[in-house]
Amino acid sequence: MTQMNMVKAINDALRVAMRQDSRVVVLGEDVGKVGGVFRVTEGLINEFGAERVFDTPLSEGGIIGTAVGMALYGLVPVPEIQFADFIFPAFDQIVSEVAKFRYRSGGEYTSKMVIRTPVGGGIRGGHYHSQSPEAYFIHTPGLKIVCPSNPYDAKGLFLASLRDPDPVLFFEPKRIYRAARSDVPEGEDYTVPLSVAKVVRPGNHVTVIAWGAMLYEAIEASNKAAEQGIDCEVIDLRTLWPVDIDTIVNSVKKTGRVVVVHEAPKSCGFGAELVSLINEKAFDYLEAPPTRVTGWDTPFPYTLENDYLPLAGRILPAIARVAKY
């Protein structure tokens, strides 16, 4: 096996998919010659040619709208949105079209695609290169939402997303694009199943739920909590929607205490849904109010971004509070 970062792992996943299935095409801004601004599509145009890898005009609505048409025809498009912050010009196509095609056509049509987009903060990107817009899309019936936390999962989840019959938004946490490395079988085909979370740190006192880049903050805080005698169970959701509710509920039944961590603002963030689900499904087991540690309800700031993000320093006191409650 080869040690790779997430950029390389997703690149390898794209190669595996494109070698196997000539219907798979890649389109987006700067995805061709330059290989994407984060280099995730590097070299694809050389291997698969300009008939399968397209540097498109600067229009996210155009990218997703034409991808819908390609999907209706029978191709499997993998559009890239250069930053999740720039997905909004395509919001109409995603929310009104991609998400609803199967339903509104009585199952006649589907707009199967995997929309890839880098997400999250921590790269000094300010308002428009840092946001985590998952909640808008989770709120939209008909979309599956994935967010990997390490290279191995990224590749396996991508291939699973591509083979899943439904459209998937694949959020790539750019803060850990190159920071996290793991063993990835290069050139090989494997999948990591959708809607299956992973317990990355077993424990008995507090359940800590996270995904993407913040998983590492949750783990760091949990390790520090262990020094205070608090034994955390950390869950990496991997697929945000449809979420693996069983893994969450089983953990909360054991611990009775839960902290949810995410970068997006608190109000109506995905944490709100998770806490509601836990209340609905595990209320009798709760020993403390489920707690959220999130980005503040402000636009994503530039200079103070590390005070905005729910880093380990903010997660630890929340864990301690919940444990003592």
Binding site: P57, D85, G126, P301, L304
Partner: protein, 369 residues
């Protein structure tokens, strides 16, 4: 004006290769004004170079410059009346400074420090400058185009005699906002000049892949706007074309002005253009640099010299150095500022979150510092 042939053929030019002025198009600027505008281009260039260095040294986080596009940015801004408004894209810091923003404020924005007019909230080069009738930079491509049209429309509704210009790249002509902005400007005959900086590239995507139109200006026909094309490396031509465009716009004929120029750098400090561009091609573009072109004209008229050039650059260098020193000494924005301006008044939930943030451990290291 009729038919695309006209647009294709007609590019406004003033400065001839021998540094003489095309008599039909001479905008008649005074010698002092010519020197001042040239100096402003040089100042913008020097600043650009220093900012790239500061970014490479890790002292600022990012810079997106206008190297090669100075004549386009400064020529257009110089043609405005005091009461006119500018809606920027993100390469127009030369226009910002020309409008009167102090160098120090711009530098504070580059550092995102506590003195930054936008309170360290946005990335470098994302300034706002209402006192100078200058909009607010947003990263999402094209959003300013419709806004400028709406601003000019509102002024027209109120009978105020102002015009608004809006900058965007040729890449942005693919955005929804370009279509909507051009369409609304045409329908409501707003006093707007849509300025397309055609520098040939949208990051790594060449203009030929952006649009199958032979020119960007000809898109004007579809919306009932007036198309104009200008040599964007010719300061005097850009000035002249913008004056003409503004006169048309004020008379109810909004203009799409395509400025033909080159991006003599990467897209931004995050970009490596050697990955997608040939050395020869870049060298050929450097030969069309607007600065030496204007300088040759001034020298021919006896208005400029190598000595003046050296002295001016030394003066700018000194000013930039002071501004950098002050920006680096300034404190980071206080935590409080993160929660301000979300709403005019802080509602209960933000008051609560601010309280909570005060008890959180402060993060180490701040962006831009």
């Amino acid at each position: 004006m009729s038919g695309p042939e006209f647009v294709l053929g007609d590019v406004v030019k003033v400065l001839e290769p021998d540094s003489t002025v095309h008599p039909d198009n001479d905008p008649g600027l005074s010698p002092e004004r010519c020197v001042a505008l040239y100096e402003h281009m040089v100042m913008t260039r020097v600043l650009d170079e220093r900012l790239v260095t500061l970014q490479r040294q890790g002292r600022i986080g990012f810079h997106i410059g206008s190297m090669g596009e100075e004549a386009t940015v400064i020529g257009t801004a110089a043609a405005l009346d005091e009461t006119d408004w500018l809606f920027p894209c993100y390469r127009e810091f030369g226009a910002l400074l020309l409008r009167g923003m102090p160098l120090q404020s711009y530098m504070d924005n580059m550092y995102g420090n506590g003195n930054d007019p936008v309170k360290g909230r946005q990335m470098p080069d994302h300034y706002s400058a209402k006192p100078y009738r200058f909009g607010s930079v947003s990263s999402p491509i094209g959003t300013q185009i419709t806004q400028a049209v709406g601003f000019a429309w509102a002024a027209k509704l109120r009978g105020e005699k102002l015009a608004a210009i809006v900058y965007f790249g040729e890449g942005a002509t693919s955005s929804n906002e370009f279509h909507c902005g051009a369409n609304f400007a045409g329908v409501y005959k707003t006093p707007t000049v849509l300025i397309c900086r055609n520098n040939g590239w949208a990051i790594s995507v060449p203009a030929e892949k952006q649009s199958a139109s032979e020119t960007f200006a000809q898109k004007a026909f579809a919306y009932g706007l007036v198309p104009m094309r200008v040599d964007g490396n010719d300061l005097l031509a850009v000035y002249k074309a913008t004056r003409d465009a503004l006169a048309l716009a004020r008379a109810g004929k909004p203009v799409l002005l395509e400025c033909l120029t080159h991006r003599l750098s990467g897209h931004s400090t995050s970009d490596d253009p050697t990955r997608y561009r040939g050395q020869e091609e870049m060298a050929a573009e450097r030969a069309q640099d607007p600065l030496p072109r204007m300088r040759a004209y001034l020298e021919k008229k006896g208005l400029w010299s190598e000595q003046k050039q050296q002295a001016f650059i030394a003066k700018v260098d000194a000013e930039v150095k002071l501004a950098v020193e002050a920006a680096e000494k300034a404190p980071a924005p206080v935590l409080d500022t993160m929660f301000d301006d979300v709403f005019e008044q802080r509602p209960w939930h933000l008051r609560e979150q601010y309280e909570e943030s005060l008890h959180a451990p402060r993060a180490q290291g701040h962006g831009g510092h």
